[in-house]
Symmetry: C2
Subunit: 470 residues, 2 copies
């Protein structure tokens, strides 16, 4: 069916969108380190001579290295993102961006878009399947990525929405994750990305004995918390220890015949297994972390896609994270006040960001940070983290290879864990151990160095700033 | 899971919503003549002494008779709706409402809500299934009604949203048609309605020989139009002749091995049969007209729910009706300019309204009106319809028991039908036949009578007014 929305190429769509110098463009990151859309679009924008663009990308990965040149040339003048790693993150840390980057949480990003604080002129949506009217889904096509949860706010609130697809199907696409009533233009390209890049970072449970030991301790904490009863809900990232917790929890739930209500967040095959084993009634999926999750999202009706706003927006009417019992969190660093850093390395170089970290910590009844005491010679438990990503007031327990520490704000939990026979240590004690074992002390940026990024909490307040690395 | 959204009753939810005199409340009509929520809520509002409410109901039926007393007492001061029949419609026609009722189309209603023209203070959503956080669906529960398409704009744009359910399930409800991020309060009641009331009006194909003859002619027109090829799309209402067209079309498509793309609108079991027979790839369902459609909506992934905005909002980025090939429309009256009245009887009494009539006529490539020449002694083909619901410029063909007339604006179609050997008559000729057979001439309201309703076109312009019936 011929349709006036169908543009002959990206450049035509950008021209039709009316994008001008100083405009804001947005992207979602479900194709993660396999994404090709952001690079293609920014190349076109650069080629059209448009400058000083604000890039509102839900996350940035190593694959986006070509953007560094656009930052250097002033094509990109500002960045809003919930996560960045690789060359773009390094360029920002080194002060190449004109204005400080804004690093929000996944829920905070949805909040800022839906509240009108972050106005998007043109949203480019990598669509694994789309029709010429703009109906799209992420579950079909050669570049299937599963849910399109992070793109929903962009599609609903951007002034102009462009679907970019490598699987243009006859009308209507089915199922429909984002509907034609939100889409202005459709562009067919050869490839939107490499779905094998979805599997960026670890998506296997650790087999390392120390990691497994930490996972066992974390699982014992969950068991002792009183939360592991029918209706239990759970979220974990895709790190090796986190996935080992999921694997052990699965066994525990099966033994105890616990019927959980839901697991949420980014979804891996481990969590899909738990759904299929009947341990959770439902999954709330904002991001498929592997191809097994993509496949489950395609065929299992109890594997629900959710928007970032439904996931974690603190200013809507109750997010899914607010219903969470247990969240397993990673940490680059954690400090004596239980503040967590997942934004920068100990040297202050940006290498991540909150994503949903601060959101889930705030929502969950029990937010557990799992980490080794040391890594790469550095102490991971510090007096004060290099960058506060997630405030300590929202973190309940720290589980390490040398024991478990409970946030003193959670006296109730302290009693429960003690009663369950879990040996507890003060976080100061763990800090001392980590320091004693450290072979290197990180050189942090000077407190007088230029501010290169603002770390925004989910409600838009600032938790910290990131300073330039020389 | 305890949840602060869960209110002990409707009154508590209304109080919490902050509804005041002069406020606007909204309702959807998927339970049609079985709905009990609107009456319950308006009784509570009346009991709380709140007055001069604007009632924004997507449709009103005979079951809503108790509202007449609230109109009389000034509890309801204004009405916005796409359809009304029964005692409320009569009360409005007799001038009981203080201000003129606004009668929009289904797409126009979504437009007015989403544009901010119609501001809803509190949306009450009859939810066949909901959890305590407000996730809801229409496909499960004893009062299952299928899609909740008309309620989506209300949920997304009302200042306060109250889910009213008779099937409160543990968190999370699954599937989710309207998410918790849009819901403020949840109220559990004994019954939201009688799902057998969904089957209001005819939902069986006519068996009357005259009706069948009209349906055969309409099917011949479709066959001759050139549109009945792969990718064909179709919509019909639930009237007896319309359903007979669907049944005949099914046979024709099977014989011709035509693979349609979609059928849309309100969905009946006849259309479900066509989906299941592979004659359409997909259904776009804004309203299930019978329990077979409800069941299909529940279990068939190709039976897609759509919002009223996606269905027909003329100010979004392309509605489903714009992709329609053929629409079969009913008519109370049709005039020499092909204007159609489905709002009032020939005596000027309100007994319906556009619903999606004007939307689908505007969108479809071929909008066919099917009607007998006469009914109840009246001529249905008139010089000028009593009330213009759907402008003649959007109506292409009239099919009657005495022949087919093509809108002179569609010379292309005239040629095609003639070439296919379909005998055509001028609409004036059909008008004359109808007049000759009429035994009664309707007494219309005086052109000086008070205006009791405004007939709004989908874009918000006025197509007509309705005057008071003495």
């Amino acid at each position: 069916m011929a349709n006036p929305k169908l543009m002959p190429g990206l450049r035509a769509a950008i021209a039709a969108s009316g994008l001008k110098d100083g405009g804001t463009v947005s992207f979602h990151h479900h194709l993660r380190n396999g994404d090709q859309v952001m690079n293609m679009v920014m190349d076109e924008i650069a080629g059209m001579g448009i400058a000083d663009i604000t890039l509102a990308a839900s996350s940035l990965f190593a694959v986006h290295a070509p953007l560094v040149e656009h930052i250097r040339q002033g094509v990109i003048g500002a960045i809003h993102t919930a996560y960045m790693s690789g060359p773009v993150a390094h360029a920002v840390s080194r002060g190449m961006l004109r204005r400080p980057a804004v690093m929000h949480t996944h829920g905070g990003r949805a909040r800022s878009i839906e509240s009108g604080e972050l106005r998007i002129d043109v949203a480019f949506i990598a669509a694994p399947t789309a029709d010429a009217c703009g109906n799209m889904n992420g579950v079909d096509g050669k570049s299937a990525c599963g849910t399109l949860g992070y793109a929903v706010a962009d599609a609903h609130f951007a002034a102009c929405v462009v679907a970019v697809t490598d699987n243009l199907v006859p009308y209507p696409a089915c199922p429909i994750a984002i509907g034609q009533d939100h889409v202005d233009y459709v562009v067919e390209v050869g490839s939107i990305g490499d779905p094998s890049g979805i599997l960026s970072g670890t998506t296997r449970a650790t087999t390392d004995p120390v990691g497994l030991d930490i996972a066992r301790s974390a699982t014992r904490v969950i068991a002792a918390s009183g939360l592991l009863v029918d209706g239990f809900s759970f979220q974990t990232g895709a790190g090796g220890i986190s996935l080992a917790v999921a694997a052990q929890l699965k066994q525990l739930m099966q033994e105890g015949a616990v019927q959980g209500s839901f697991a949420s967040g980014g979804i891996t095959g481990y969590i899909v297994d738990m759904l299929e084993a009947g341990l959770f009634k439902t999954l709330f999926d904002v991001q498929c972390f592997d191809l097994k999750a993509v496949e489950s999202c395609r065929r299992n009706r109890r594997h629900l896609a959710m928007s970032a706003s439904m996931y974690a927006n603190p200013q809507r009417r109750g997010a899914v994270v607010d219903q969470l019992d247990v969240m397993i969190l990673g940490a680059t660093e954690i400090d004596l006040a239980f503040n967590v850093n997942v934004t920068t390395g100990s040297d202050g170089m940006i290498m991540g960001g909150s994503g949903g970290h601060a959101d889930a910590a705030a929502g969950a009844k029990l937010a557990i940070v799992t980490t080794r005491l040391n890594a790469g010679g550095y102490a991971k438990i510090t007096d004060r983290v290099t960058t506060i990503t997630t405030p300590g007031a929202t973190v309940d327990v720290l589980v390490t290879d040398e024991g478990v520490a409970v946030n003193p704000l959670r006296a109730d939990l302290l009693e429960r864990l003690r009663a369950a026979g879990i040996a507890l240590r003060g976080i100061g004690e763990l800090r001392a151990l980590a320091a004693a074992r450290a072979t290197t002390v990180a050189q942090r940026p000077s407190g007088q160095a230029r501010i290169v990024a603002l770390v925004e909490y989910r409600d838009g307040s600032l938790t910290d700033v990131v300073r330039m690395v020389a």
